[in-house]
């Protein structure tokens, strides 16, 4: 059974992982995106994520339901609020019968979350503030 959430509090990776476990699914792949310090020459100090929460949840639910229909458990949780270096921004987990599917579906889900779920990153870098998704204007 899928679990999707927009979380204002730090992600509990262990608890989210536990939601994926099931006797019929032997392969569990998780992706966690954390706040990275360096992007080429740019040094990030912190991030702020905001979301169009109701629509984000709808989009995440659509994605999760479509993958679960193939035979899987899916968890997708995204943080909002102020994040520091190494804080967890997003958790995507897939439990499936076989590992090849779990890898493929987990990567598809995070790729798709990044493309079409209405969540925005405001990056506080050492040189200036940047909005994710926009060309560096």
């Amino acid at each position: 059974m899928h679990y999707v959430a927009i979380a204002a509090q730090p992600l509990d990776v262990q608890a989210l992982y536990e939601k994926l476990k099931a006797p019929e699914f032997g392969g569990i792949v998780t992706f966690v995106g954390t706040v990275r310090q360096w992007t080429d020459e740019i040094e990030t100090q912190s991030l702020e994520y905001t979301a169009y929460t109701e629509m984000a949840l709808k989009e995440m639910t659509k994605l999760a339901v479509a993958i679960e229909a193939k035979g899987a458990n899916v968890v997708i949780v995204h943080r909002v609020g102020q994040l520091e270096l190494t804080d967890e921004a997003v958790f995507v987990g897939v439990a499936a019968a076989h590992r090849g599917e779990a890898f493929k579906w987990c990567e598809y889900l995070i790729d798709t979350v990044k493309k079409q779920v209405p969540i925005w990153k405001k990056e506080f870098d050492t040189d200036k503030i940047r909005w994710g998704g926009l060309n560096d204007v």
């Binding site: 629509m55 709808k58 979350v113 990044k114 969540i119 925005w120 990153k121 994710g132 998704g133 926009l134």
Partner: protein, 82 residues
């Protein structure tokens, strides 16, 4: 007819509000929403070019809506979650 339009991220910052009222005439389209915002807030023009429109929490492109079908309008700047 007046509609509340939700704004997010850089768009909300440029205007200083997370919601604005725009006048739209039937049929409601994504292009009409963007045109109306641009007219009222010209400073959003360059970001607006890359924005999507969600009506009733669903991305729309060329669809037309009767005003009565529209319960929620939002302008979606390029997303950057993950």
């Amino acid at each position: 007819m007046m509609f509340n339009v939700k704004l997010f991220a850089i768009l909300a910052e440029q205007i200083g509000h997370s919601e604005v009222q725009l006048t739209l005439t039937a049929p409601i389209t994504a292009a009409a929403v963007k045109t109306a915002l641009r007219a009222q807030y010209p400073q959003t023009a360059s970001v607006l070019a890359d924005c999507l429109v969600a009506i009733n929490q669903t991305f729309v492109s060329e669809e037309q809506f009767a005003p009565s079908e529209v319960t929620e309008i939002a302008l979606i700047p390029p997303v950057s979650g993950g």
